[in-house]
């Protein structure tokens, strides 16, 4: 159970000195990243991870939590003002946000979006605080076979649900598994796939690779799209929403909060799905569904509340089981690891104070972006117009210098650049990047626990079928994979049919 005393201490720690400054700066930077179309929360976290090396662990972590929650919210600003989602998660906000801006209500839309994101985010952070210790204590019963099954589940779902083509998601994930094997064998200690290079005996540097795949690759994409950067035309007035407007959105909050939480917990689907599901459910339950799509404030509220409500759900399996549900939490997990905090149930035993500080940080991060969003809405709106000719080189420099700064070795810089180019080529040709990274994290877990389980059973592989929890998880993995592949094939068939119909 959550310890109220430790939680209060956690609030005290996060609200003190450098931690508060880091939280505010992280939120501010996150909103800026989110507001600029093309830059994602994952990219923001990956970009700033190296800046946290010199900080105390909790200072760095609250900064990254600020970026994460701020960027998810910030995507809605561009959706409302220029009809282009700042992040993929904010696509549903366009539906009613942009019509509101066209009616001269951009300020009201941004105000509602800000408070709604804050409500969803705070709800989910509170759920994380109360449910994470329970799940972690349940996970203490897990042993190697259960962790193996959990890794199989995470892998099967993330790989099959990514991108337009399941087979490309599979290839990306399998390559990630092979990359995870570079280095010393987890049980035998002999080198594998190192090609005689001593730098590779410790495996490929994870953080430079993350920065390359998520930030540098996106930077290359921005170089390509440079000419089509959008411009803001709407004027912002009266950003602070009226109480009556928020009260009118209460139904949307009641639906979007639990939807976002559940979607967040589900691996491989994240904020974008949460936003669309919340929007659709709010529209379905509305007395005036015909108003949706025409500038209905409840539509903005549902989408924004849903997307931010997914953040705590995304963090939950990562922090309690060490299984990241999406790319952003994979990068967050990498950041925790470099601060010597290994996510999983043992984190709740060995670092109880830090865990409670993370909970407090997550709750306060959601409050912080609401305050910043309402105070600096005009500034964030102007950020969308930022000159890409200067922004893009800055992103590249931050990626490269950040990668170099990790260990001060050229090898990390080369890793970042190589994976940056690889990530860009993958993005261009429809190979999803996220499965590669998730597979790398889960690959180590899969292999070491598989071998550990065999060691426990003196080489008898039937151990995986004799453990009820492991069997349930493996069956779930099989079922969700089959369902996911079927759904994706149906979606592709529909896409092909509509293409043929369009000539």
């Amino acid at each position: 159970m959550v310890d109220p005393g430790l939680l209060l201490q956690g609030f005290g720690t996060v609200l003190s000195g450098y931690n508060l400054l880091a939280l505010v700066l992280g939120s501010f930077f996150g909103i800026v990243i989110g507001a600029i179309p093309g830059l994602t929360a994952t990219m923001g976290i990956a970009l700033l991870v190296p800046f946290t090396f010199g900080m105390a662990p909790i200072t760095g972590i609250v900064m990254l939590l600020g970026i994460y929650t701020g960027a998810i919210y910030g995507g809605g600003i561009a959706s409302i003002l220029i009809k282009t989602p700042g992040t993929p998660a904010a696509a549903a906000t366009v539906l009613d946000g942009y019509p509101m801006a066209q009616q001269g209500l951009a300020g009201k839309a941004i105000g509602i979006a800000t408070v709604s994101s804050g409500i969803g985010g705070t709800f989910t952070a509170l759920c994380l605080t109360f449910f994470a210790p329970i799940l972690a204590s349940f996970a203490l019963r897990f042993s190697a076979p259960e962790y193996f099954a959990l890794a199989v589940f995470g892998l099967s779902v993330t790989v099959t649900l990514s991108g337009r083509s399941p087979v490309k998601g599979v290839i990306s994930g399998l390559l990630g598994l092979l990359i995870a094997m570079v280095g010393l064998d987890p049980m035998g200690g002999f080198p594998r796939f190192t090609f005689g290079r001593p730098e590779l005996t410790g495996g490929l540097s994870f953080v430079p690779m993350l920065i390359g795949l998520f930030a540098l690759a996106e930077g290359f994409r921005q170089v390509e799209l440079l000419r089509s950067a959008p411009r803001v035309a709407a004027a912002l007035r009266n950003v602070l929403p009226a109480l009556a407007d928020l009260r009118a959105c209460a139904g949307a909050y009641l639906r979007a909060c639990p939807i976002g939480l559940v979607v967040g917990i589900t691996p491989a689907i994240g904020a974008d799905t949460a936003a669309f599901l919340s929007y659709a459910e709010t529209k379905r339950a509305s007395r005036h569904p015909e108003r949706f799509g025409q500038g209905e404030p409840a539509g903005v509220a549902a989408a924004q509340c849903g997307e931010n409500a997914s953040t705590g759900g995304d963090v939950l399996p990562m922090i309690t089981l060490g299984v990241p549900g999406d790319a952003a939490t994979a990068v967050l997990m990498g950041a925790l690891t470099i601060h010597n905090l290994q996510p999983g149930p043992m984190l709740f035993q060995a670092h109880r104070e830090v865990v409670h500080q993370i909970f407090a940080g997550m709750i306060l991060a959601n409050v912080t972006f609401v305050v910043l969003g309402l105070l600096f809405a005009r500034f964030f709106a102007r950020v969308i117009d930022i000159d890409r000719t200067y922004l893009v080189p800055l992103i590249f420099i931050c990626c490269l210098v950040g990668s170099y700064a990790i260990n001060n070795v050229l090898y990390d810089l080369v890793t970042c650049a190589v994976f940056g180019v690889l990530g860009y080529v993958m993005l261009r040709y429809d190979f999803p990047v996220a499965p590669m990274v998730l597979a790398q994290i889960l690959g180590g877990m899969l292999e070491s626990n598989y071998r550990r389980a065999l060691a426990m059973a003196q080489g008898d592989a039937s151990i995986f079928l004799r453990r009820p929890i492991a069997v349930v998880i493996l069956v779930l993995a099989a079922v969700t994979t089959v369902v996911a592949v079927r759904r994706q094939r149906e979606a592709l068939r529909l896409e092909a049919t509509s293409r043929r119909a369009a000539g």
Partner: protein
């Protein structure tokens, strides 16, 4: 005109992945076996087999004309810009240690800005001068992370 497809990219990707799978099988055959810990080659070989299967599936789809359409082909000025930036980035990676952070970054930013079409040279020069100094101060002085000094060591 028919919309461009990912056919060529899919074929190239499949052909690039197949030798990777073959190499994994080859190298894992040389690893020592450990009693009661399972053959260390099982998982890598299983992954390699799945990878080869997925690559052949992709290849088959591409060869039978079932590749997905390419959303936006990379052509003309866009392609030149991406290639220039990639070349500049490669040069920066190789030149950072010998040239030093400040000089290498200033040159990189100048080249980068020019590659993106910026012709306001004064503004670009100011940007290329200020950013490396600011980053140097942030990393080297504030975060205690030393950056390469090049000939000024």
């Amino acid at each position: 005109m028919a919309s461009p497809s990912l056919r060529r990219a899919d074929i190239a990707a499949a052909l690039a992945v197949l030798p990777v799978a073959a190499y994994v099988v080859y190298e894992s055959g040389r690893w020592p076996r450990l009693p009661d810990l399972g053959n260390p080659a099982w998982i890598p070989r299983g992954v390699a087999a799945c990878l080869a299967g997925a690559a052949l599936w992709l290849l088959g789809r591409a060869l039978t004309g079932r590749s997905l359409p390419l959303v936006s082909p990379l052509l003309g000025a866009d392609r030149r810009r991406v290639l220039r930036v990639a070349a500049l980035t490669g040069a920066y990676v190789l030149g950072l240690e010998p040239v030093g952070f400040l000089a290498a970054t200033a040159l990189y930013l100048l080249g980068f800005g020019a590659a993106l079409g910026e012709r306001r040279w004064g503004r670009l020069a100011l940007f290329a001068a200020v950013v490396p100094v600011a980053i140097h101060l942030l990393f080297d002085q504030t975060l205690n992370v030393p950056l390469p000094r090049g000939p000024f060591r």
